[in-house]
Amino acid sequence: MSKIHHAAEPDSPLVKKLQLALVIGFSMFALSIIGWVARLIYNSWVWQDVFSASIAISLIAVPIFLFLLSLFNYVFWGITLGREEEKK
């Protein structure tokens, strides 16, 4: 497997903070989309306005965003924490 070997120079504190901001920012975004969908479901329940459509759409949309949220975090933490193994 092709490996790109870089000498292990750790990231500066600023870079680390920005990386954390990236993952938190994305997670907030994904969670707020899910929150939005939930709000629309709530609205349609309160107003009795085609509740079934809201449930149907959310059954597709929410898992997608949950998946993206988990995957992004998986990639982020997997890569940032995965550099330690080289030293073993």
Binding site: K3, H6, V15, V37, I57, F72, V75, R83, E86
Partner: protein, 448 residues
């Protein structure tokens, strides 16, 4: 200081646009910014005065902005769909093409969504859609699905960029570049575990992105097919739009590839074979497009329903016939011979075909939207008419210029061809492909 000198690296030409800026670059950016400003000023005029500054009227209440919305969202199928499908089918020739395609997707999805906002009578009330939205409305399905696709495409664009960011991080001299690439590289150094995480994530994303992409243009088509208007209320719209999207998306991808090849001197990476293969995909798509169009119009004609026939005749021989026939010629009759005949399926040939296809597909959106609105069911109305105003043209030019500008800026910061994927193709995949061939060659299959 930089760890390595990028000029000495194998794929230095891919990093050249990032580290070196020519005078032409500044001129190009200046021109594009001017065009974008034209669009912006047009929009400000519209925002202040009202949508009356456009050519829209009663009953043609949807026009250029919705056409451009559908067109741009259609183009988005280029990137991620092609990139994901090629990755899933393990087609090795995709390597230099994937990032170009993925950037197209992310850029046009944003611009497509922007066109909807531009079309609103009260964009200041857009929060109403978030607070009081109703999921019975296809517009909400659009909003959700496009957001999902944009998010998924951005993630799908970003993940393979991580190793490239590491290369750039190690090749740059510090300052804001080091911070930018360092942040985006997430501390990548190429360990076994990091590779494993990346590959797994990419495989999962490639699978997810395909149904999301298909759903996006299907729900865009539902905006039309869920009404009861003549020649809109057709069950074929979902698949028709998806096929049209892949079709126009591939054409746009080809044009962008040809431009980048010339401007960034990527002749070694984007070779005639890439254009040949994409040309073959477009050949299949043009035949499919013709089949769907034929089915749609033949059904309308044979059914002879009066309201539908009025719309049909206005396209076939009426006021919209020049656009209708231009569409058919541009989408099928010109590309078919170019793409079908091997001798013509060169870089130049496929680019010519692609330009016609893009124009033809834009016309297709025009032909779908305007004639139906111009021929209301209550035939006692006079036939509607529409002509774009300078504001709509300005905004459309601004949108295309914005697309080009996003691309140009992206190419200044990030490599347009994935360095990692190309290297992987060069170093590793020979054995992988050979192994694959050995596995399914019958008999004692030896391939030496």
């Amino acid at each position: 200081m930089a760890r390595t000198d990028w000029r000495k690296e194998d794929d230095a030409v891919l990093m050249k646009p990032i580290f070196e800026t020519t005078k032409n670059y500044y001129i190009l950016v200046a021109v594009l910014v001017t065009l974008v400003l034209w669009g912006l000023i047009s929009y400000i005029v519209q925002f202040n005065s009202g949508l009356g500054v456009t050519g829209m009227n009663f009953p043609v209440s949807w026009a250029f902005y919705i056409i451009n919305f559908v067109f741009f969202i259609g183009i988005s199928h280029a990137g991620t769909l092609i990139s994901a499908i090629l990755r899933l089918s393990q087609a090795e020739w995709r390597r230099p093409v994937t990032r170009i395609a993925e950037v197209i997707t992310v850029a046009v999805l944003g611009i497509g969504g922007m066109n909807i906002l531009i079309d609103l009578g009260r964009p200041d009330r857009i929060l109403n859609m978030f607070l009081y939205g109703r999921y019975q409305s296809p517009l909400l399905w659009d909003a959700t699905s496009i957001t999902a696709y944009l998010t998924a495409s951005s993630v799908y664009l970003y993940i393979p960029m991580i190793p490239d960011m590491a290369i750039l991080r190690d090749n740059c001299d510090g300052g804001w570049r080091k911070v930018l690439y360092g942040t985006l590289a997430l501390g990548w150094i190429g360990t076994e575990r990091q590779h494993h995480v990346l590959e797994r994530a990419l495989a999962m994303m490639a699978v997810l992105v395909v149904p999301v992409a298909v759903s996006v243009h299907t729900v865009v088509s539902f905006v039309f097919s869920m009404t009861v208007q003549p020649m809109w209320h057709s069950t074929i719209f979902g698949p028709y739009f998806v096929v049209g999207a892949i079709f126009s998306g591939t054409a746009m991808l080809l044009i962008v590839m040809a431009v980048l090849r010339k401007v960034l001197k990527l002749e070694d990476y984007l070779q005639p074979i890439h254009f040949n293969y994409l040309g073959l995909i477009m050949l299949v798509m043009t035949i499919l497009w013709f089949y769907f169009t034929g089915a749609e119009y033949l059904t309308a004609f044979y059914g002879n329903e009066p309201d539908e026939m009025r719309v049909f005749m206005s396209k076939w021989g009426g006021p919209y016939s020049p656009y209708f026939w231009a569409m058919v010629i541009s989408c099928f009759f010109i590309p078919l011979p170019i793409l079908a005949i091997n001798r013509f399926r060169t870089i130049k040939g496929t680019v010519i075909a692609s330009v016609f296809i893009c124009i033809g597909m834009w016309l297709e959106r025009f032909i779908i939207i305007i004639p139906t609105l111009a021929n209301p069911r209550l035939h006692q109305y006079e036939h509607g008419h529409y002509a774009p105003s300078i504001i709509e043209i300005g905004i459309m030019v601004g949108c295309f210029a914005l697309f080009a500008l996003v691309y140009v800026l992206f190419s200044k910061l990030f490599p347009m061809v994935s360095i990692t994927e190309v290297r992987e193709g060069r170093d590793d995949t020979e054995n992988i492909v050979l192994e694959r061939l050995r596995r399914y060659t019958p008999g004692k299959g030896r391939l030496d």
